[in-house]
């Protein structure tokens, strides 16, 4: 089969590799129809996450048709059309039973490495480095889905791939980012980052009852989308002196009730602090540039919530703990527990409350994945979200 392989930093290749096989009883093999490049794939592309090996198959947002089912899967049949959530979850461990599937205690075969870096291990993830298990990803013609009995949602008749594909990651991720805020009527929510996850966080904040959502980015086309499609008030941080000052002004001094960081390790800004972070990252003294996170903490109102859904890979510097502690902030975070959002969000799509297709700007064949990575990474051609057709 053809698969998008990471061959080195900023080096993707579509290669011919062996077809996947059933390895565990609860596996299924899926013939992929649609898959997408995620913003977090760019962290791998740019080599900001550790433990990649040349030949690793990328991709954790995918859907397709079941072509083979392991003997331990009794709720799937060949021919079923399914969307696969990006965290791999067993459904049996304490974390899964509590609904925290991205913390599955059994699905990361390399948990011992993650434990050394992070204390404890999160779940396995498709196509997302060996730190999360070394699972082949879904930017390919076929993929093996472990724990397929738990890790799927069947697509109802009549729905297009584009309508449901983002249930695999970015829609639930954005939604969880907003849900973690505990939004109350009248609340103002600020969202850093207007990539696809940021767009869905904005839309979800409105779905959950936010009065106003303020979006922060530097690309005009992304801010336009946030304003026109998701309904946000927008701030281009390259055009203002201080984002926290603007937010303070927009909220008459209170600050946003909730701040969502949908940026993560590769934040940008201007000024001395940015140069400092950039330099430390280049020298491998600090893997992450926590610019959005610092601003979110600084901007948030007293007693408010900072919700972190942008991905962080390692240690950060200059973390404003004084603001967090003295101003009673709550930080909530996590890789999305996708499984628990599949059904409710599918229903919201069916009811027309949200149409996730608005983020798609590019559709291309799988064979053009390397080109897709390039334009998505460089924000060329007003690229917001790329769907690959296998």
């Amino acid at each position: 089969m053809k698969a998008t392989c990471w061959m080195g930093p900023q080096k993707m290749e579509v290669r011919e590799v062996p077809d996947p096989q059933i390895l565990n009883k609860r596996d299924a093999i899926v013939k992929i129809t649609s898959t997408a490049i995620c913003g977090s794939d760019l962290h791998l592309y740019n080599n900001f996450l550790p433990m990649m090996e040349p030949g690793d198959i990328m991709g954790h947002e995918f859907m397709g048709e079941v072509v083979e089912v392991g003997q331990g899967v009794n709720n799937l049949r060949v021919g079923d059309r399914i969307v696969v959530p990006f965290p791999i979850a067993c459904g049996n461990c304490g974390a899964c039973q509590a609904g925290a599937t991205s913390l599955c205690e059994n699905s990361n075969p390399n948990a011992y490495i993650a434990e050394k870096l992070m204390g404890h291990s999160p779940s396995g993830i498709f196509g997302y480095s060996h730190l999360t298990g070394g699972f082949a990803g879904g930017q390919a013609e076929y993929a093996r889905v472990p724990f397929a009995d738990v890790g799927h949602i069947k697509v109802p008749e009549g729905m297009t791939d584009e309508q449901v594909l983002f249930l695999s990651d970015i829609l639930p991720t954005g939604y969880m980012g907003a849900e973690m805020c505990g939004i109350k009527p009248g609340d103002t929510v600020a969202v850093w980052g207007c990539g696809p996850v940021g767009q869905f966080a904005i839309a979800s904040a409105y779905l959950l009852g936010a009065e106003r959502v303020i979006a922060i980015d530097r690309f005009k086309y992304r801010l336009d989308m946030a304003r026109e499609k998701a309904g946000a008030i927008t701030i281009n941080y390259e055009e203002v002196d201080s984002v926290p000052d603007v937010l303070k002004d927009l909220t008459a001094g209170r600050g946003p009730d909730h701040c969502i960081d949908a940026v993560g390790v590769e934040g940008h800004t201007h000024g001395v602090m940015y140069a400092h972070d950039r330099m430390k990252q280049m020298l491998r003294m600090q893997p992450d540039r926590p610019i959005a996170l610092r601003e979110a903490i600084f901007s948030c109102r007293n007693g408010g919530t900072v919700s972190v859904i942008g991905v962080y890979a390692g240690l950060i510097d200059k973390f404003p703990m004084n603001a967090v502690m003295n101003r009673s902030l709550t930080i909530k975070t996590g890789q999305c527990h996708v499984h628990r959002y599949l059904q409710p969000l599918l229903e919201r799509i069916q009811r027309g409350e949200i149409d996730p297709t608005f983020v798609i700007t590019h559709t291309m064949p799988l064979s053009q994945a390397p080109e897709g990575y390039k334009i998505f990474n460089n924000k060329e051609d007003h690229c917001e979200k790329i769907v690959l057709k296998a």
């Binding site: 996947p20 461990c93 304490g94 205690e105 075969p109 390399n110 948990a111 060996h130 298990g133 093996r144």
Partner: protein, 349 residues
């Protein structure tokens, strides 16, 4: 080594642990016995048995004395009764530097008993030098005698401390390390009822399902079993084992029988995890690896660090209990680095 194991397995009686807890809390809010005792017990096991506080004192004393010798060599020489104190400055400084290095070695606690023995050797050198000082009629004999008496007193303390540190059983983690016996203990929480978890382990023939190095275990009698394990370079080793103790839903311990090629023993304890979280499983293993200490060092080069291997086995045990089998990925279904992409090779954990 067998005796220490039995000691471990029979500490289940009431101890002081619970009495200390609970004083700040009302009767009904006090922690249950079963949740507090094991941790108390582990702490007792891990604790050293003496000599540490004296070693700390000697370490600080070394640094203090050494600093004095380095910073005020002339004064120190005079205290020792040396007449030409100025000429003795470099010697005194060198002795001071040595003293400081003893202190750092002791306080770093890497191998404190060796560090304290090194102090004893230093004392011998000091006494020899003081003897030489005394032989020179120009020096102040009285001061030298006083200094010698002090050094002798400290030497006595050093010897006492070094003997204490050398004789104690050390911590549980490195007990037997000198003989090459490896001892390791690990734990995991399994989200299944205790009867099921105990029951699975109770049938030793299930162990190879999650213990990577085991090829097979055959139950040969009520308390006896025959074990076959993989050894390096495609070899295998076999031995007979006997069940030492078996308390349903509580613990199982076993050990290789007399005359087995590879001495090994294990104890696994089961306890309900608090709040319906399943079962806490704690395993304590010891074995005498092939080729002793060298063998275990070589094995570590191949990522066979025993604690890590036991942890891997326990994680696989959890996977088998909770999901039915060991979870595989394309990259981890074989040994060694492999990209996350399918291949047609067989599974080799």
């Amino acid at each position: 080594m067998g005796t220490s194991f039995e000691g471990v397995s029979t500490t289940a009686g009431a101890d002081g642990g619970t009495a200390i807890m609970g004083t700040a809390l009302g009767e009904q809010k006090r922690p249950r016995v079963s949740t507090t005792r094991p941790y108390q017990r582990l702490a007792n096991e891990d604790r050293g048995t003496g000599g540490e506080s004296l070693a700390d004192f000697l370490g600080l004393f070394s640094i203090g004395l050494g600093m004095a010798q380095v910073l005020a060599p002339v004064t120190m020489s005079k205290i020792c009764g040396i007449d030409d104190a100025e000429a003795n400055r470099p010697v005194m400084r060198a002795l001071g530097a040595r003293e400081i290095s003893h202190g750092i070695a002791i306080l770093s606690k890497q191998q404190p008993e060796k560090a304290v023995w090194s102090r004893v050797a230093g004392d011998a050198l000091d006494l020899a030098l003081l003897g030489k000082v005394m032989a020179n009629p120009q020096n102040h004999r009285g001061r030298t005698l006083f200094a010698t008496a002090n050094v002798l007193a400290v030497t006595a303390l050093d010897v006492m401390c070094a003997r204490q540190l050398s004789m104690q059983p050390k911590t549980i983690a490195n007990a037997g390390a000198d003989k090459g016996i490896i001892r390791t203990k690990r734990s995991i929480t399994v989200n299944r009822p205790i009867e099921e978890v105990y029951g699975f382990w109770h049938n030793f023939e299930n162990l190879p399902q999650f213990m990577r190095h085991l090829e097979s275990v055959t139950v040969t009698g009520e308390r006896t079993s025959h074990w076959k394990a993989k050894a390096p370079v495609g070899q295998s080793v076999e031995w007979d084992a006997e069940t030492v103790e078996d308390r349903p839903n509580e613990l199982i311990s076993w050990r290789s029988t007399e005359g087995a090629d590879i001495y090994n023993a294990g104890i696994v304890r089961f306890m309900p995890a608090p709040g319906g979280r399943g079962t806490e499983v704690r395993i304590d293993l010891e074995y005498d690896p092939p080729f002793g200490k060298l063998g275990s060092k070589v094995a570590m080069l191949w990522r066979e660090e025993p604690g890590q291997q036991v942890q891997d086995d326990l994680r696989h045990f959890k996977q088998v209990m909770e999901t039915g089998e060991i979870v595989l990925s394309d990259a981890t279904k074989q040994r060694g680095p492999h990209p996350a992409q399918p291949d047609n090779k067989p599974v080799k954990l």
